[in-house]
């Protein structure tokens, strides 16, 4: 069942026990997500985990087969799809003009908004350049500007920084934080766990199911078992390499005084192993 309340229900926008199937294949199974105004909610997971499906479901691009979607009307949603979502044969200015027309923004309001966004995106010098002539990072920043043009209440970003150089990633993060600070509820899929650590909440998906959810600190605490740093792993199947050392996951509770896992990357790997071990 879908829902469109038009106003934040309770603590924001989101999915409640949402499932999506493509034919016989379940792409999303009973996922719950709440995006709160002023906060960034990161959706992480490996390839095929269901991140894009969850975001498309929230944006209304795909209907859930089960569960509930709480989202504002399209006028109040900003969406940046995986493939950037800019019109390659239009210039930067023409892209903005088109999206502004769809949102019925014109005149001084448009002028001010365009100036602010292009300046933030570092695109003021490239307004006449075709989108296809922009670098990957510039294109992503233009796509972000288009999604933000109408000051959406819910901003949905599908891997905005994938394939973007480190400097542009910093620019994008600045823009995303700015959008949240302006009051938007931001839901962002990412494969970069260092980015997810900066989010207010993290939803980790695996094979369409929720693996773990919470604030970054809660996610670290909720990882079943414990992770230790070792020079030589005792059980290779439950170990992975980080730099020059190894991490070893054990399903047993950590011994007293042992520090919890260090970061989200370890947490995600450990949670995945815990799920696999439980299924065996």
């Amino acid at each position: 069942m879908t829902s469109a309340t038009g106003a934040p229900s309770g603590s924001g926008w989101g999915l409640a026990d949402a499932s999506v199937s493509y034919g016989d294949r379940a792409a999303l199974s009973g996922v719950t997500l709440r995006a709160v105004p002023g906060e960034v909610h990161a959706v992480v997971g490996g390839d095929g985990a269901g991140k894009t499906t969850a975001l498309r479901c929230l944006a209304g691009a795909v209907a859930p087969t089960k569960g509930r979607v709480d989202a504002p009307s399209l006028e109040r949603i900003g969406f940046m799809p995986t493939a950037a979502g800019v019109w390659a044969d239009l210039s930067v200015d023409q892209n903005i003009e088109f999206v502004a027309a769809a949102h019925k923004i014109s005149g001084t309001v448009l002028g001010q908004r365009r100036e602010a966004l292009l300046e933030g995106a570092g695109l003021t010098h490239a307004t006449t350049r075709l989108a296809k002539q922009l670098s990957g990072g510039m294109r992503q920043k233009l796509a972000f500007s288009l999604a933000m043009l109408h000051r959406p209440e819910l901003l949905i970003l599908d891997e905005p920084s994938t394939g973007v150089d480190p400097v542009s990633r910093i620019d994008l993060w600045r823009m995303i934080s700015g959008a949240a600070a302006d009051g938007a509820a931001v839901v962002m899929a990412t494969t970069y766990l260092d980015e997810a650590e900066r989010a207010s909440r993290v939803l980790a998906l695996d094979n369409g199911e929720t693996l773990i959810e919470g604030t970054p600190a809660q996610v670290l605490e909720r990882v079943p078992g414990h992770v230790t740093v070792v020079d030589t792993p005792t059980e290779r199947a439950l170990a992975w390499r980080r730099g020059r050392s190894w991490r070893q996951w054990s399903p047993t509770p950590p011994p007293a005084g042992t520090a919890p896992v260090a970061d989200l990357e370890d947490a995600m790997v450990a949670a995945g192993m815990a799920k696999e071990t439980a299924h065996v």
């Binding site: 944006a59 691009a61 399209l74 969406f79 493939a83 769809a102 288009l146």
Partner: protein, 345 residues
């Protein structure tokens, strides 16, 4: 190299459309087009009018089957103009006057050759609408249709698939635009461009090849507009079934090829076996060729082209309707449901 060949075969095996084009299509094309590829018209529909009809009918060779249920009040020239028959004989004159429809090029050539065998002075032969049996006069009106088919089907499908391929169709789906605005906004530019092309091609064709334009321009424009809806609908349908521009081109060519060969503008429909001719009658270009040749060469009016207009209109409604429905479905049903539900807020 062995690994490369193996890889290529494995990829081809999974590309079902290309496999169909490689294996099934040649067989289908050879069979259908083999039967269709025939310039020799064995039977030419004929009408005999006037007081002395019966003896003349008896003298006619077998290739001139006489149509019995023609309008008794119509003159021989009117029967040709209205495309009722390709040969009409007026027996009220001495000798009998044979009128041949020059806009049916191959039938006219066969008829002209057959009447040349008659004894001198037995009949007087006049070829109407294309007295010198100039190929360009018959081809140009049909080529206008073919060019419109090319633009409407291939260019439109490529333009629409481009949106899907670049991922912006997803963006459009979640923008506060009505589905009808998106669909019309995508199609109207192609419709306008195709209209401009239609005018340019017609004017250039008439000017360059001296093709006469004997009929009503507005009626021709109406027929072309209806035909454009059909071909644009085909283009949109192809785009909804294609993920890439290459796939769209592949499908468009598969739709274009039968229209070129089976619509009657290269090989006459009268010369095709009935089954193949029926395939031709399922193709929109067949009806537009009738309309354009009829209006431009014969100066035919709406009454005699009513069936062609009717079939094209039906095709436009069905194909364009199906195309819009499929395009609308692609534009994220849940998003638009939501937009209409609380879009007014």
């Amino acid at each position: 190299m062995k690994a490369m060949i193996l890889k290529e075969f494995r990829e081809l095996r999974r590309d079902k459309r290309t496999m169909a084009m490689l294996i099934a299509l040649p067989i289908v094309l050879l069979t259908i087009f083999g039967y269709a590829a025939n310039f020799n018209v064995d039977e030419i529909p004929t009408a005999v009018v006037g007081d002395n009809a019966a003896p003349i009918e008896q003298q006619l060779p077998d290739m001139f089957p006489v149509e019995s249920d023609v309008d008794a009040d119509a003159t021989a020239q009117e029967l040709i103009r209205d495309n009722v028959v390709d040969v009409a004989i007026d027996t009220s004159t001495q000798p009998a006057a044979v009128y041949i429809d020059g806009s049916s090029l191959f039938a006219a050539q066969s008829a002209q050759a057959a009447f040349a065998q008659f004894p001198d002075g037995a009949v007087s032969v006049e070829i109407l609408y294309n007295p010198d049996l100039t190929t360009a006069w018959v081809m140009v009106p049909a080529l206008i249709g073919l060019i419109l088919t090319f633009i409407g089907t291939i260019i439109t499908s490529i333009g629409l698939v481009k949106e899907r391929q670049s991922g912006t169709i997803e963006q459009l789906a979640v923008m506060p635009l009505k589905a009808s605005d998106v669909i019309l906004g995508k199609i109207v530019p192609y419709f306008i461009l195709a209209c401009v092309d239609m005018v340019v091609v017609t004017v250039v064709g008439v000017w360059l090849f001296d093709v006469p334009f004997n009929g009503n321009v507005a009626l021709f424009a109406l027929g072309a507009a209806i035909f454009l809806f059909v071909v644009l609908g085909l283009g949109v349908l192809i785009s909804t079934a294609s993920q890439t521009q290459a796939q769209a081109i592949q499908m468009a060519i598969m739709m274009l090829l039968p229209q070129i060969l089976l619509s009657g503008f290269i090989f006459p429909l009268d010369a095709m076996p009935t089954v193949i001719a029926w395939i031709g009658h399922l193709l929109p270009l067949t009806y537009f060729v009738e309309i354009s040749q009829g209006i431009m060469l014969r100066g035919a009016g709406f009454d005699s082209l009513m069936v062609n207009f009717g079939v094209l209109t039906l095709m436009a409604v069905v194909i364009f309707g199906a195309a819009v429905a499929r395009f609308r479905r692609d534009l994220a049903p849940s998003a638009h449901k939501r937009a209409t539900k609380d879009g007014a807020k």
